[in-house]
């Protein structure tokens, strides 16, 4: 029922061979988190190391959505790789700050900015990951 009301749409593009850009549209909550996780797991399986999550069109995110982001963050960190959140709506941004996720997972204003950060990491692979 919920899915019918607020379907989650996830569009995946590949700006680089190992970079997946997931553009998410809809509520990221307990009903849709699993679907989102499947998309991420699929990209991990295909060898992507960097995950750009465009949350422009996500009006609401709860702890389920947050946990998916944290999980892919941990998986990517072990590769090593990275996760970037792109232009979250104010409500989502607030949640990210509240839970401290934005401390750990960098938030970018645009895809270009996120890609620059990915490239920066690639140029300096010896750089310490954030703690």
């Amino acid at each position: 029922m919920h899915i019918a009301q607020d379907p989650l749409s996830v569009e995946v593009t590949l700006p680089r061979e190992d970079v997946a850009l997931l553009t998410v549209e809809g509520y990221l909550d307990v009903d849709t988190a699993t679907e989102f996780q499947h998309h991420l797991a699929n990209q991990l399986h295909h060898g992507r190391r960097h995950f750009l999550l465009d949350l422009t069109a996500v009006p609401f995110m709860d702890s389920s959505g947050m946990n998916i982001i944290l999980r892919v963050y941990q998986e990517a960190r072990d590769l090593p790789g990275s996760v970037h959140i792109i232009s979250p709506a104010p409500a989502v941004r607030r949640i990210l700050d509240l839970t401290g996720v934005s401390i750990t997972v960098p938030v970018s204003e645009s895809v270009e900015e996120a890609l620059e950060r990915v490239d920066g990491l690639a140029k300096a692979p010896e750089a310490e990951p954030e703690s």
């Binding site: 946990n67 607030r94 839970t99 401390i103 750990t104 703690s131």
Partner: protein, 800 residues
């Protein structure tokens, strides 16, 4: 014995003959008129005397019968008794008849006597005599015309009526004037016959089957005999019937408007109408052989007629109670086509009462009322597609039927035809067999002849031209494993000669296996020898697999459900055990501490919220709320682990930031990627300072005076997301009367608004709440705008 001096017959008041103006009484015409008048008075007196004498003779007869004496002795007895009673012999005779009769007439006369006794004894006495005299006259009269005259003179003139008409009702709805008095002969001749469907006063009474009392004929505008003579006169028309059968109508005319009549008069007239019925009962319209004969035809003729019909038919005869009222109809006969809708044998229906056999006839279909009406009026009733309801095993079943009800003599012939019943049933059966995948068979064991229907050839996967398979060869067509089952089936049917059934796998020539159920019954001859077997095969393959699948699913579902509910219950027990909804107050000087825990409404939503408020050995107060993501037993167990871990860690004396750092390690190493948020504070009662840190949790709210504001959002990642994390600490100086609230997001979480908006609402609620800390917390729970049915924790302190 002269009647003249014994019988004081009350003669109706009769006006002197009015002579036309200018005619002298001495003129020849005047003398002639006077003579005519005298003669007619003499005739009337003679008539009255004759009727009076008839009554006295009747009373004598009653005395002969009662006293067992001869007529002479009875006459003497009557004279003596009359003398003792001090009344006239005629009145006494009426008394004797009333005593003996105890009929409706007695009832009416008694009621009349009682009603008028107070008024004038003599008048009442004469009324009684009047009615009896009318009855006697009516019974003595050999035709309806004489009855009409007798009624008018004896009974109706005293009531002020001037004319009377007696109509015989024809079966076609027509009315024939069989007798009248008081109307001119020409008027009576004009009205000798009223065709069917002409609404006259009498016709209306017949249609209503109830007395019609009209104050003034012109008011109703209904035509009737003599209307032009008495245009504004009153009228009464009363159906004349006995034993539920209406034979005609008694119509009475008054010269002037008639006020509403008292019940006694109405009953008198009804009694008179019943008198008319007795004479009409034997009335046969003269010279018109096409009219129905009222002579009772032989009942057996009607039964023969019923037997000759190709539709179901019943012959009904009226069933009367002791006083002659129609109660019901007895089913005299059912014809050979008759099939009881409820499946009862024909003999059980024949002879029973209609309403007992078919109580639904009195229901909405009004079938009984229709039959009653046909019997009363003789007008046949025919209807197409009438809805009939029969009770079959207390279940009302409706059927559409064409109905014909007609009266023949004293009997009713009731015929019906269920619409295309045979065709309908055959097609129904055909569809049922096709849909149910049922194949029928019959085997004659003497001739070896086997009959299959088309569906059975389909089931066997054989062409309809191939020979059918005998039942005994069934094992050869079945799965070998089913041999025992089929053997038992055949033994029950053929050897023990009892109905049997079996389920087996049919192996068709095309290699397909079908699950089949076969049911069969033996047909025995009178010597108990087996003649025929018949029965049906049903393909239950679909049903079979559905059942197998259903059973498996059901088991699995039951198991899962049980498992799930056990887990939910366990989680709930766990949480309740660890965190009672309220907690005993802490004994801390100058500090009130209150906690609230509201569990989720649904059992399966038991969450991972926790709170803690405990005085540490350092005399610092540990305050904490936390929230493990998710619901159910995993969340609840993680909550227990984190809460106890924090309590243990706090004893080390470390600050809140360090405590959360350690707690993060604990959470990170819990199985199942658990994350949690928490806020942790240490309050120093001596300095009234609060040091606190948060791990992804909403910061505490400080309520000071009428202001409520959250503490700053210090850095701190939620617990368990990363192996190592550090947490920023903050310190706040509290003042007396300050309130500090720590809560989980069950209090504010709403899908349709931002955390800010929810928080604003919470802050205003928190600031508005005066009174004690407990009241403030209760108010927060009560006015929470949360819509997620999540569990909720609040810890509050109030500085003293």
């Amino acid at each position: 014995m002269s009647i003249e001096d014994q019988a004081n017959v009350p003669l109706p008041e009769h006006p002197q003959v009015a002579l036309p103006a200018g005619v002298s009484a001495d003129s020849p015409v005047g003398r002639l008129a006077a003579t005519v008048d005298r003669l007619s008075r003499e005739v009337r007196t003679a008539q009255a005397e004759a009727e009076g004498r008839a009554l006295i003779e009747l009373a004598k007869g009653i005395l002969v019968e009662r006293l067992g004496c001869g007529p002479t002795q009875a006459a003497r007895q009557l004279a003596e008794l009359t003398e003792q009673a001090g009344t006239t012999q005629l009145e006494f005779a009426v008394e004797v008849i009333n005593q003996a009769a105890r009929d409706r007439m007695s009832e009416v006369t008694n009621a009349f006597l009682a009603a008028t006794r107070a008024a004038e004894e003599a008048a009442a006495e004469t009324a009684a005599v009047r009615l009896r005299a009318a009855e006697s006259g009516a019974l003595a009269a050999d035709d309806t015309q004489a009855v009409a005259e007798s009624l008018l003179e004896q009974a109706l003139r005293p009531l002020g009526a001037v004319a009377v008409a007696i109509w015989a009702a024809g079966a076609d709805g027509s009315l024939t004037l069989t007798g009248s008095a008081g109307f001119s002969p020409a008027e009576a001749a004009r009205w000798h016959y009223v065709p069917p469907d002409v609404a006259t006063v009498a016709r209306c009474a017949l249609t209503e089957r109830d007395g019609l009392w009209i104050m003034s004929t012109d008011d109703r505008g209904l035509p009737s005999v003599g209307r032009h003579h008495y245009p504004d006169g009153g009228r009464a028309a009363v159906p004349a019937g006995t034993g539920g059968r209406v034979y005609g109508v008694l119509e009475i005319a008054w010269p002037t408007p008639m006020p509403e009549q008292p019940p006694q008069i109405v009953r008198q007239v009804e009694a008179l109408a019943e008198l008319c019925a007795h004479t009409l009962e034997t009335y046969t319209p003269p010279g018109n052989p096409s009219h129905e004969s009222r002579a009772m035809p032989d009942a057996s003729e009607l039964m023969d007629l019923a037997d000759g019909l190709y539709d179901p038919a019943l012959v009904l005869v009226p069933h009367l109670d002791t006083s002659g009222n129609l109660l019901d109809f007895r089913i005299q006969h059912v014809n050979s086509r008759f099939l009881d809708p409820a499946g009862r044998p024909r003999a059980m229906i024949s002879g029973s009462l209609l309403l007992e056999a078919y109580p639904m006839a009195a229901g909405d279909s009004e079938l009984f009322q229709r039959i009653e009406r046909v019997y009363a009026t003789g007008e046949p009733f025919r209807a197409r597609r009438m809805n009939l309801t029969a009770l079959v095993d207390q279940v009302p079943l409706a059927a559409l039927a064409d109905i014909s009800v007609s009266r023949h003599g004293d009997g009713i012939l009731f015929i019906w035809r269920i619409e295309d019943e045979t065709a309908r049933l055959a097609s129904l059966l055909q569809h049922a067999q096709r849909l149910g995948r049922i194949g029928g068979f019959e085997e004659n064991l003497l001739t070896g002849e086997i009959t299959w229907n088309g569906q059975l050839f389909d089931l066997y996967g054989r062409p309809e031209t191939s020979p059918p398979v005998p039942l005994e060869e069934l094992p050869a067509h079945a799965h070998p494993d089913d041999a025992v089952t089929i053997g038992r089936f055949l033994r029950t049917l053929l050897h023990r000669r009892r109905p049997a059934s079996a389920a087996f796998r049919l192996q068709r020539p095309d290699g397909v296996t079908r699950h089949i159920r076969v049911v069969a019954e033996p047909v025995l001859d009178t010597d108990g020898r087996l003649l025929t077997t018949r029965g049906a095969y049903q393909d239950i393959s679909a049903q079979h697999w559905t059942e197998v699948a259903l059973a498996a699913t059901r088991d699995q579902l039951a198991h899962t459900e049980q498992h799930a509910s056990e887990r939910d219950r366990l989680a709930l027990q766990l949480q309740r055990a660890i965190m009672p909804p309220t907690q005993a107050p802490l004994q801390v000087p100058d500090l009130d501490v209150a906690v609230r825990y509201r569990p989720a409404e649904a059992e399966q939503l038991v969450g991972g919220d926790w709170y803690d408020a405990v005085v540490l050995p350092s005399r610092l107060v540990l305050l904490c709320v936390g929230d493990v993501a998710g619901h159910g037993i995993e969340a609840a167990t993680s909550m227990v682990v984190l809460r106890n871990a924090l309590r243990g860690l706090a004893v080390t004396g470390a600050g809140p930031g360090q405590l959360l750092s350690w707690l993060n390690i604990v959470a990170h190493h819990l199985t199942g990627a658990v994350t949690a948020t928490a806020v942790c504070a240490l309050y120093d009662p001596d300095s009234r300072t609060l040091r606190w840190a948060r791990a992804g949790h909403l910061p505490p709210v400080l309520v000071r005076g009428s202001d409520a504001a959250p503490l700053p959002l210090v850095r701190g990642l939620l617990l368990g997301a990363v192996p190592e994390a550090s947490y920023e600490e903050a310190e706040v100086q509290l003042a007396p009367e300050d309130n500090l609230l720590m809560y989980t997001d069950g209090l504010i979480e709403r899908r349709d608004r931002t955390v800010e908006e929810s928080l604003t609402h919470l802050l205003s609620t928190a600031a508005d709440a005066p009174g004690t800390l407990d009241q403030r917390l209760d108010r927060l729970l009560t006015y929470s705008r949360s819509d997620t049915d999540d569990d909720t924790c609040i810890v509050g302190i109030r500085v003293g």
